[in-house]
């Protein structure tokens, strides 16, 4: 069946929240919510049905790679020429901790930034059809993907919840 998308534009946090709840209750689950800033209440409502974001996995893998690289590069290179410098044994861990620490932060941070891009599907080359420039100012948007024959039902839910504007 063909699917359509309906967009409701809201001016308030509470009406947006109401619309999300009502749509969920009616069985519409394919929602996209646009907000100018992250709003905790809306986030809480939307996140209920989702697993936790996987960004932290990227961070963990990146950070551990950094730690391992830091220790590997320092120990391995010290063993290539076993020179005693500064009266320390060729492999002396305390000074190497600093290199390992810095690389942990470096690769962990870069992996987190990469995760925001990969998981958030950025960069986005074309604007999505339901996006409205007002969503970066002070309006909230709820876009619903639904079968063609249920458009009226969705429009009714959005209007009842308090949408300023409903459009296809």
């Amino acid at each position: 069946m063909a699917t359509a998308s309906v967009l409701g534009v809201f001016a308030h946090v509470d009406t947006t929240l109401q619309a999300i709840r009502d749509l969920r209750a009616k069985g519409f689950s394919d929602l996209t919510v646009y907000t100018p800033i992250p709003v905790e209440e809306i986030e809480h409502e939307v996140e209920k049905v989702r697993p936790l974001s996987a960004v932290r996995l990227f961070t963990l893998v990146g950070a551990l790679t950094g730690t391992a690289t830091g220790f590997f590069i320092t120990i391995w290179t010290s063993l290539k020429w076993e020179l005693v410098t500064g009266g320390k044994a060729p492999v002396s861990i305390p000074p190497f901790v600093i290199i390992a620490f810095e690389l942990t932060i470096l690769l962990g941070g870069l992996a987190s930034a990469l995760a925001i891009l990969i998981l958030g599907r950025l960069p986005r080359l074309k604007p999505s059809p339901t996006y409205d420039p007002r969503f970066s100012v002070d309006r909230f948007g709820v876009a619903v993907a639904c079968p063609d024959d249920r458009i009226d039902a969705v429009q009714a839910v959005l209007s009842t919840a308090g949408a300023e504007e409903v459009r296809r």
Binding site: H12, D14, P127, F135, V137
Partner: protein
């Protein structure tokens, strides 16, 4: 300047749309005054570049470097700029994790300051090293005999610490900018819109984007927090690991970190106060913000005073002849002016901020900040130049005389910093649109049913 709006004016006046309007109007064609300032800064920078060119041409001796004064003003200014670069990440990462809401109005400016200050600092190892075309030798790679850098050397730690700090600060800064650039894009037309569209990465603020963004931002803040504390500790190891009297101290890491935050806050005030006036940002940067920053400056000043006292006490209590002689020489020999100037600027002047009214008085804050910046430069000078001037043996003692060349390069470094900052505030939002909205009341239709948002 005394007619400031009430501290919580922002909570009652500005709306979300106002924020967009007030930030967007700072971008675009600037006036004649702006160009006049830019010309002045560019001219100063040109003098600095000419001086550097001269130094490369005739050699590092042009900078007045003679044994034992091989670090002199370049490393002084290097440490100074790294220190300035501390407040930005402190405000954006540490205060973010502590949910200090007053940070939202100042953090973008402070972060820009951090990135530009570290970019300025990064020039100094190149300038200082003399043959700057061999700067890539700093990178960890093996030479033709497979000899790698000595990872036990504090100078190698420094390379890792500074480059990590620069990278993470830039990433943090850009990640924070993306949703704001999207807001600029939606307001712009023509070629500007296209540029902002590319820079915003097509950000739309959908729930799918925000959820990963928020997680990632929090994790970046969590990673940047220990980094802030580590960078200046590692810079301090450049000194503390050496045996020079006055340097060889376990006090140095916290002492440097505190000084860095202290000078960073002073620089934030120096930049934010004129911006508030010129851009008319009184609803966003209120007396409450000034008060909070003044308090942090005061606290870091008091801690620094404690460290100064400790330094003198440990030198005396150690019973070590050279430590005692070093402190005595600093306080009474050729560099005594720098020593007492440092005490005056960093310990006495900020005490004015104990008075409640002084903490919100723009002129007082500005003057105190300038004194702090001078004092913190003098502190680094005091560690490096008089430290090397008077070490173990009289035959290695020596006085350093600045030259026109190195002074011009140092003044030029300030011009480089300000040219970057002035350029930034005209093309990018220097107040965070997203974060300022977060602390304004959220639009609610039925306020009572929600119990209001804090």
């Amino acid at each position: 300047m005394s007619t400031l709006p009430a501290p919580n004016a922002a909570a009652t006046q500005a709306t979300w749309a106002d924020v967009n309007r007030d930030v967007i109007r700072t971008i675009g064609m600037p006036g004649e005054k702006y160009f006049a300032w830019m010309c002045l800064v560019a001219l100063t920078l040109a003098c600095g570049v000419a001086a550097w060119t001269w130094q490369i041409w005739v050699g590092i001796g042009a900078a007045g470097k003679r044994t034992p004064q091989m670090w002199a003003m370049y490393i002084t200014t290097f440490v100074f700029w790294i220190g300035i670069g501390h407040a930005g990440t402190l405000i954006s990462a540490v205060l973010y994790l502590f949910r200090a809401r007053w940070r939202t109005s100042i953090y973008r400016g402070a972060e820009a300051m951090t990135v530009f200050a570290v970019m300025t600092a990064g020039l100094f190892p190149l300038i200082h090293a003399g043959r700057m075309w061999f700067a890539y030798w700093l990178m960890p790679y093996p030479n033709q005999r497979y000899l790698w850098p000595n990872f036990k050397s504090p100078l190698v730690w420094d390379v890792f610490a500074i480059s990590t700090y620069l990278t993470i600060s830039v990433v943090f800064f850009i990640v924070g900018l993306v949703p704001d650039i999207a807001a600029l894009r939606d307001n712009a037309t023509g070629i500007k819109r296209k540029i902002y569209a590319v820079l915003s990465l097509g950000w739309e603020g959908s729930d799918h984007q925000w959820r990963h963004y928020r997680r990632g931002y929090g994790l970046l803040a969590a990673l940047a927090t220990p980094l802030v504390l580590s960078v200046h500790s590692v810079v301090s190891f450049d000194f503390a690991m050496a045996l020079v009297p006055g340097w060889h101290s376990t006090l140095f890491a916290p002492f440097f970190v505190d000084g860095a935050i202290f000078s960073g806050f002073a620089m934030v005030l120096v930049l934010i106060l004129p911006m508030r006036y010129l851009f008319n940002w009184y609803p966003y940067i209120t007396d409450r913000h000034l008060d909070a920053m003044a308090k942090l400056t005061l606290v870091t000043s008091l801690i620094l005073t404690y460290f100064y006292t400790c330094e003198v006490f440990t030198a005396w209590y150690s019973g070590d002849h050279f430590e005692r002689a070093s402190v005595f020489a600093k306080a009474s020999k050729q560099y005594a002016w720098a020593y007492w100037g440092m005490y005056f600027c960093n310990c006495l002047v900020p005490l004015v901020l104990l008075i409640r009214k002084a903490r919100t008085n723009v002129v007082t804050l500005y003057v105190v900040s300038i004194f702090v910046l001078i004092g913190m430069w003098l502190e680094r000078f005091n560690i490096i130049v008089p430290g090397l001037a008077h070490d173990f043996y009289p035959y290695t003692w020596g006085t350093y005389y600045p030259t026109v060349t190195d002074s011009a390069i140092i003044v030029g470094s300030f011009a480089w910093f300000f040219i970057l900052f002035l350029g930034f505030i005209r093309v990018m939002p220097s107040l965070s649109i997203v974060e300022v909205k977060e602390v304004l009341p959220h639009p609610l239709k039925h306020a009572a049913s929600h119990g209001g948002h804090p």
